[in-house]
């Protein structure tokens, strides 16, 4: 797994208090990992902070799964 994926997973595990093995490629933050809409806002903020990027609101809405997040950040970094 890439360095980016590891770092994203660490953030997800910390913020949503979920087991690491639940954070799979297609795991949806809301449907599978117990996040609500405010949690997803905070997750995106944490990604921005960790990777020094800006994720516009319309792009943030497309980040629904762990895989979406890794893909977006890999392309943006």
């Amino acid at each position: 797994m890439s360095d980016i994926a590891d770092r994203v997973k660490k953030i997800v595990v910390e913020h949503l208090s979920v087991e690491e093995d639940k954070v799979t490629e297609n795991a949806s933050f809301i449907d599978d990992l117990g996040a609500d809409s405010l949690d997803t806002v905070e997750l995106v903020m944490a990604f921005e902070e960790e990777f020094g990027i800006e994720i516009p609101d319309d792009a943030a809405e497309t980040i629904q799964t762990f895989g979406d997040a890794v893909k977006f950040i890999t392309e943006a970094s």
Partner: protein, 420 residues
């Protein structure tokens, strides 16, 4: 009007997490004061306070994990965490965690705070300045708002009745209990979870009260003796933190389910000073009128009051309240016992009135007045017994609990043994 009784108690205090742990330490004359541990306060005029003892939950310590999951806790200020812990204790003590929808519709929550998420607001202001608005957490507002204890409690237990909060500085806890009792009397709810919480021991909180010249400053080397109500050598209050929550219930409702009943809320009085933003009127008239109103509502003569839990903050205002109580009791002042439990736990601000109402209820249960510790040389010669430095075992049937707040807002609660 329906009668209202107390059927559950919950508390997080500087002496301990838990009502009974706190009460036994209070009766033993312990102090919850010490040098501030949570942050470096050495640059402030006051470097000590009464902090909630953190730990693994054993021996009366407060373990945050016992009350909210790490995920939920990260989203709220500590005043909400303390409030949730006290509320959880209270509803379990009352045996009132109903699954039935009608029971939930008839149960409300009214828990306030004097200041709310002060440290969260301060921290977020710094973050905003340093990193910009995009770094402000979506949980900042719902984690700082005062009514969010009531919101969180209702969500956890499914309580769908009145959901409300009081904000009246240091009278908050007493107003919350009094107002909640009235909601039951008027039939808006059968059960109310009511009280106050505070967590203002932070840099901006200490600095702010220091600026008001309200806090004790001269006992950095001896914090345990800094909170000394009525003593000639007192120099301001010592800030405390924590929460007190009670379960109030319609008397018939409590009887019908066989609930354990601690006491009855007999009277509640409110008044305003219309005098000064931080100081009480010299003649104590505001407090006096609140006490008179509470006793009138209770239909009880002043000379029937056995124990008074004073507001008594360890400031110059102590003797003003003392004078007002002596005026109220008249010739019978010598028969009553009054103490300030703030001598042990400091001033819990918005939680004070609720925590002290609980102490007053336990005074009835155990027939004992808790002590005013650190009272070595009274500033004036009191007509009342102030339970100086030792608990006072005596008959306690009727209690009065006073709370006075900045802005000149006063509340008095009269509570007593339940009789048929």
């Amino acid at each position: 009007m329906r009668r209202v009784v107390v059927t559950g108690l919950g508390m997080v205090s500087p002496l301990a997490c838990g009502t009974e742990e706190t009460w036994s330490r209070l009766l033993a004359g312990e102090s919850g004061a010490g040098t501030i541990q949570r942050f470096d306060a050495s640059h402030l005029a006051t470097s000590y306070a009464c902090e909630v003892p953190l730990g693994d939950g054993s021996n009366g310590t407060f373990n945050p994990d016992d009350w909210m999951s790490p995920k939920e806790r990260r989203k709220v200020d500590d005043f909400i965490l303390f409030g949730m812990a006290a509320a959880d204790q209270a509803v379990r003590d009352a045996g009132w965690t109903p699954e039935d929808e009608e029971d939930r519709l008839r149960t409300g929550v009214l828990i306030g705070s004097g200041i709310g998420g002060l440290s969260s607001i301060a921290d977020t202001a710094v973050l905003l300045k340093e990193k910009g608005p995009r770094r402000v957490s979506p949980f900042f507002i719902p984690g700082s708002l005062i009514n969010l204890i009531s919101g969180q409690v209702s969500i956890r237990y499914g309580f769908k009745g009145p959901n409300h909060a009081v904000v009246t500085a240091c009278s908050t806890g007493a107003h919350a209990i009094g107002d909640a009792a009235r909601l039951i009397q008027w039939g808006d709810a059968d059960v109310m979870v009511a009280g106050g919480a505070e967590a203002a021991i932070c840099e901006i909180g200490i600095a702010g009260f220091n600026a008001c010249k309200a806090l004790s400053t001269k006992r950095g080397d001896d914090p345990e003796h800094a909170s000394r109500p009525y003593d000639a050598d007192r120099d301001g209050f010592v800030m405390g933190e924590g929460a007190g929550v009670v379960v109030l219930e319609d008397y018939e409702h409590a009887k019908a389910r066989g609930a354990k009943i601690y006491a009855e809320i007999l009277g509640y009085g409110l008044s305003g000073d219309a005098y000064h933003i931080t100081a009480p009127a010299e003649d104590g008239d505001g407090g006096y009128r609140a006490m008179v109103a509470a006793l009138k509502r209770a239909g009880i003569a002043p000379d029937a009051v056995d124990y008074i839990n004073a507001h008594g903050t360890s400031t110059m205002a102590d003797t003003i309240e003392l004078g007002a109580v002596e005026r109220l009791l008249g010739d019978k002042a010598g028969m009553a016992t009054m103490s300030s439990t703030k001598s042990s736990i400091g001033h819990l601000l918005g939680a004070a009135g609720a925590v002290e109402a609980i102490f007053s209820i336990l005074a009835i249960r155990d027939q004992v007045a808790p002590p005013t510790i650190n009272l070595d040389t009274p500033a004036v010669t009191p007509k009342l017994n102030l339970a100086a430095n030792a608990k006072h075992e005596r008959e306690v049937n009727v209690v009065l609990s006073n709370s006075f707040g900045f802005g000149g807002t006063n509340a008095s609660l009269v509570m007593g043994k339940v009789s048929d």
